[in-house]
Subunit: 123 residues, 2 copies
Amino acid sequence: MRIGELSRRTGVPARLLRYYEEQRLLHPERGGNGYRSYPESAVAQVQQIRGLLDSGLTTGMIHAILPYLCGTGRLVPAPESVPVETAALLQGHIDRIQARIDCLARNRDRLTAYLAAVRTEGR
Amino acid sequence: MRIGELSRRTGVPARLLRYYEEQRLLHPERGGNGYRSYPESAVAQVQQIRGLLDSGLTTGMIHAILPYLCGTGRLVPAPESVPVETAALLQGHIDRIQARIDCLARNRDRLTAYLAAVRTEGR
DNA sequence: CTTGACCTTCACACTGATGTGAGGCTTCGA
DNA sequence: TCGAAGCCTCACATCAGTGTGAAGGTCAAG
């Protein structure tokens, strides 16, 4: 599929799809006319990239782990050699994500408690 | 306390403490010499701000919810003086925080599953 | 053949959070 | 009193993400 369709199906502006390619996160083929040509799996891949970016990974780190990911996070055929340091990096990031979740949940609870007070006491 | 001490005690560069003030997240007093003067409670408050920023909230959103997060030594608006529309805004913020938590949890699970697969399959 | 939609690259600019440095004032200790 | 350390403001830089526009190639439908 071409970039316009991928953009529509993922909700990601074509501009960003080109940007991700520049960051080596996507590797579309090129037709004879120079147009980018994405495989069907690119839809899932773009969504995954977005999710990872949104949870705070840098494009660099995503680039490091992407070879071992396919659309839904399943294993690529033969990833015998995931560098140990990459795995450690990943674990560190998982820990940081958890810390963020804890922080947000804590503050969500505070706001919720406050709101409850407003609603019962308000009248 | 002055900005240098607050910086040392929080590990946050003075530059950022000034930035947070510009974003109306901190409100230090000024001495006759123009130096910023922070209360003891600023330490906890800065840590709170950092946690929220690191969790992906913008300074704007933090500014909106900070007054309602007690436990940071700030004055909390009395619940009975809070108009209904503010309550609605607050609920919106809570919803956004929840959405962010969901997003982070999803990605944490993906990464965890992936890492587990790599570790068992690796050898 | 023309029009319009879609694609290409290039490039400039803004935002938010942060880094860095210049130029100058204040405070403090030897 | 002098120098160092700390503070001030101002301003430019970076990085990821995004918007916009120019100038042009490709292609299908009318």
